[in-house]
């Protein structure tokens, strides 16, 4: 992964850029994926800020546009969800950082199928561009939410944006499914077949286990979504009625279909995909957190084998919990009980992971670098966001809380914030390996504290508005200043929503130190610092040796007479054995 030699001719700079763009090398593909995610992140965040400003101050005029209409608000919600979930939280941790780091961590020189990998990246880009064009077609972007429930999503008559906009959404996500499946096949084959000498399954870093499990989920889940999208396409354009009842009256027009489809079928298919999807989004972050915590605490990951097992278990259980999105959707109530039990069970391996994280840092006086701070932030947000999961997993409680802001708080804390903290942790941690430069720790700390405070300030109060009964997807809380019971109920949540909006703007602004940090560091010259974090995993190994692995990661042997430093910390970095170093230790820490 050494940087290419600098060429003074500008013509060859273009040629180099072109070669980088069409390359099948996993590093370039990883950058491609991260660029896609970055574009989606910027657009998605912008959309969310418009949403928040409109919700808090409905009369606010968007510059160059005017007032945000209710259907436009719903279009913002739909596109925000789609962009963030698919293009940021699925692409960046799994395909972006996976491509950059996975081969190095298993000692492979390349991914298993480089051309397939490149195809996946270009399909993802095509998918993103297709999605973004939905804003510009007549009718605008779709308004059914990222979940696209029929009949709203099958019937152009049902709302603006459900015509051409919905078709573009459909095509975009179908492309994404294919790309995701191809990328997952590549990841799986790489992990199974391209591990270097000595890299047994038990010696794989937890990040690799997480990418592996997420790829398994992806290959299963995206196929089902593709099937559902195909059926939705048939319903929209080929006069079938898989998701539509025999007759429905939409907008004054009676639509009739042969047969008795049900929208509930879409819900089953979609959520069978949708729940593994959110585990795909969070698993890489969990694996990275374990490894980063262990690294800066200079400890082995507590209960390493158990962590491998919990990663796989979360993946496996994630396939059988989808009904908890459908407790009040028309399911048989007995099914509700079954899904409730499986959803509660999945909290157990997640808790095991939290316990491992706590035990790994306990008493270690870790070095609080920015990457470590973000890993700790991940733990905090994962706990706070995750704890509302078991509450929502109980149908009688979900009956009250379903589709309220309580759910919005839950998934934003655990996906948007913990997931994004995972991405920031990855950036700060692997930046020296990828760019041979260092990011400023001071700016990083400012970034961390601002983001952590902003995250809690924005999303914690949403629990309260949700408990007060405020539903999701409401463009306005008290239109026309009415005094109906509904308006009075919702209007009471408006002050808190205004506060949340202010916090959200603060959270967005708090990302500026990060941007400045990146720009400043990229302008400085590259200085190769070998293994600045004294890490033990293979991506930090010198690139001139043939990689061979001799032990598990995070091996910090403590000899009998080792002295602790005056402040109770291990002196310098203490003794640590990297995975690639052949020397043996007298007392390697077994696990």
């Amino acid at each position: 992964m050494s940087a290419p030699a600098v060429d003074t001719l500008s013509r060859s700079r273009w040629r180099r850029a072109l070669r980088g763009i069409v390359s099948t090398h996993h590093r370039n593909i990883g950058f491609g994926y991260l660029s896609i995610s970055l574009l989606a992140l910027v657009v998605g965040t912008g959309l969310s800020l418009i949403m928040r400003l409109h919700l808090a101050w409905p009369d606010w005029q968007l510059p160059l546009h005017g007032e945000v209409l209710p259907e436009e608000y719903l279009a913002l919600v739909t596109m925000h969800g789609t962009l963030m979930l698919f293009f940021v939280l699925t692409v960046a941790p799994q395909s972006g950082f996976g491509n950059l780091i996975l081969p190095a961590q298993i000692g492979a020189r390349r991914m298993a199928f480089p051309r397939l990998n490149a195809l996946g990246m270009w399909l993802t880009l095509a998918s993103l561009l297709t999605l973004l064009t939905a804003f510009f077609v007549p009718g605008g972007a779709p308004i059914g939410g990222w979940t696209a429930y029929p009949p709203l999503s099958t019937t152009p008559l049902a709302g603006p944006g459900q015509g051409a906009g919905m078709d573009l959404w459909l095509g975009s996500i179908a492309l994404f499914c294919v790309a995701g499946a191809l990328s997952a096949v590549n990841t799986l084959t790489t992990v199974v077949k391209l591990r270097c000498e000595g890299m047994s399954w038990q010696r794989l870093p937890l990040t690799v286990w997480s990418w592996f499990t997420a790829a398994l989920l992806a290959v299963l889940a995206f196929s089902v979504l593709l099937a559902a999208l195909l059926l939705l396409f048939c319903d929209r354009h080929l006069h079938s009625g898989f998701f539509l009842p025999a007759g429905e009256l939409v907008n004054g027009v009676l639509l009739q279909h042969r047969g008795d489809g049900s929208p509930l079928l879409w819900l089953h298919l979609f959520w069978f995909f949708g729940h593994p999807e959110v585990y795909i989004a969070i698993l890489p972050g969990m694996g990275l957190t374990s490894m980063v915590l262990a690294n800066f605490a200079r400890r082995p990951v507590f209960a390493y084998r158990l962590m491998i097992a919990t990663t796989l278990l979360i993946g496996l259980l994630g396939i059988v919990v989808w009904g908890h999105h459908m407790f009040v959707a028309g399911l048989n109530p007995f099914a509700g009980t079954v899904f409730s039990l499986s959803s509660l069970v999945i909290a157990l391996p997640a808790t095991a992971k939290v316990l491992s994280w706590l035990a790994t840092v306990w008493g270690a006086r870790p070095r609080l670098t920015t990457a470590m701070l973000f890993a700790l932030g991940f733990v905090s947000l994962f706990i706070t966001g995750g704890i509302s999961g078991p509450i929502l997993a109980q149908p009688v409680l979900d009956e009250y809380l379903h589709n309220t802001f309580f759910v919005v708080a839950h998934f934003h804390l655990i996906m948007a914030m913990a997931g994004v903290f995972g991405l920031f942790c990855a950036t700060y941690y692997w930046y020296p390996a990828i760019f041979a430069r260092q990011l400023s720790e001071a700016l990083g700390r400012v970034h961390f504290w601002g983001t952590l405070l902003g995250a809690y300030a924005t999303f914690l109060p949403m629990h309260l508005t949700g408990l007060a009964g405020e539903p999701r997807h409401y463009a306005q809380l008290n239109p026309g200043m009415l005094t109906t019971p509904g308006s009075v109920l919702l209007q009471a949540t408006l002050p808190l929503q205004r506060y949340i909006t202010v916090s959200a703007v603060f959270l967005a602004v708090a990302q500026l130190p990060f941007v400045i940090n990146l720009l400043l560091s990229l302008r400085s010259p590259a200085v190769a610092v070998e293994n600045p974090w004294s890490a033990t995993t293979l991506e930090w190994a010198p690139t001139d040796i043939e990689p061979e692995v001799f032990r598990e990661p995070c091996c910090y042997p403590v000899t009998e007479g080792q002295q602790l430093g005056a402040e109770g910390q291990q002196t310098a970095e203490g003794k640590f054995l990297t995975q690639w170093s052949p020397e043996t230790a007298s007392n390697p820490e077994p696990e």
Binding site: E71, D260, S340, L376, I383, P395
Partner: protein, 257 residues
């Protein structure tokens, strides 16, 4: 009467609770919330304490399984017991509310959701709902539900845009939707159920306290989703009888509200 008067605790901002099954659900919800808060606080305390502490020299390797037991298996076992206990409590409440249908003596009301309004239908004196055909439905013509004029049972059906119920009597709601999925929700009755086109859903509850409550739509259904609201008016039984009688008289005189 303030709609936001909280039930008993003033910490969690739950709205007033006016249904028979509400207090039990609220109690369970509050229990869950306090436990959640406690667990979050405990976990963060452990995290911060762990970061602040410095641990003595490492124990010998042979005690790894003991650390595993205390730090992983026992807390997991405790959590499993906690979850099992919460689950049993919650499934009991769910079973009471959903596993069995309404009492045969419950009042029948049909709720129909359409873009973007709720309509409510009372069966009238013959206690039978008349037939509806989607082809006949036209809100502009005064027949939003598509009542079939040839069906005698439909002649006395009362269609309203407000749901009016007597306090203290169980009501069985039949939920229907004409066009897209709508979410019928009454936060102050702790009630929520999606209405799907082509299907009927049944939920039953007993409103206890007279007052005016909010009916909201909680499944995004189009651009008017945010204003698809209705009012639930719970009246004292005598007052409700008067209201119903007056309305049914109006229906029989050919005047729909």
């Amino acid at each position: 009467m303030s709609l936001l008067q909280p039930s008993s605790s003033t910490f969690w901002p739950l709205p007033v609770d006016a249904a028979a099954h509400g207090p039990a659900m609220d109690a369970h919800l509050r229990l869950n919330l306090w436990i959640a808060l406690a667990l979050v606080a405990l976990a963060h305390l452990l995290l911060l304490a762990g970061l602040a502490r410095r641990r003595a020299a490492r124990q010998k390797a042979g005690q790894a399984w003991q650390r595993l037991l205390w730090l992983e298996w026992l807390p997991l076992a405790a959590l499993t017991v906690l979850f099992a206990w919460l689950a049993v409590g919650s499934e009991r409440l769910w079973a009471v509310e959903r596993f069995t249908g309404a009492d045969p003596a419950a009042m029948q009301v049909e709720v129909t959701g359409m873009q973007f309004a709720w309509y409510f239908r009372y069966p009238g004196a013959d206690a039978t709902f008349g037939r509806t055909e989607l082809a006949l439905a036209s809100a502009a013509a005064g027949n939003p539900l598509g009542l079939d004029p040839t069906d005698p049972h439909g002649a006395d059906d009362l269609v309203t845009s407000q749901l009016v119920l007597p306090a203290g009597r169980e009501v069985d709601l039949t939920l229907r939707a004409q066009d897209v999925i709508h979410g019928f929700a009454v936060p102050q009755m702790r009630l929520k159920q999606n209405a799907l086109p082509g299907q009927t859903q049944h939920i039953h509850f007993t409103p206890e306290t007279p007052g005016d409550y909010a009916i909201l739509c909680t499944q995004v259904c189009g651009l008017g989703h945010y204003r698809m609201q209705a009012a639930l008016r719970v009246l004292a039984p005598a007052e409700f009888e008067r209201w119903l009688a007056a309305r049914e008289a109006g229906v029989s005189n050919g005047v729909q509200p």
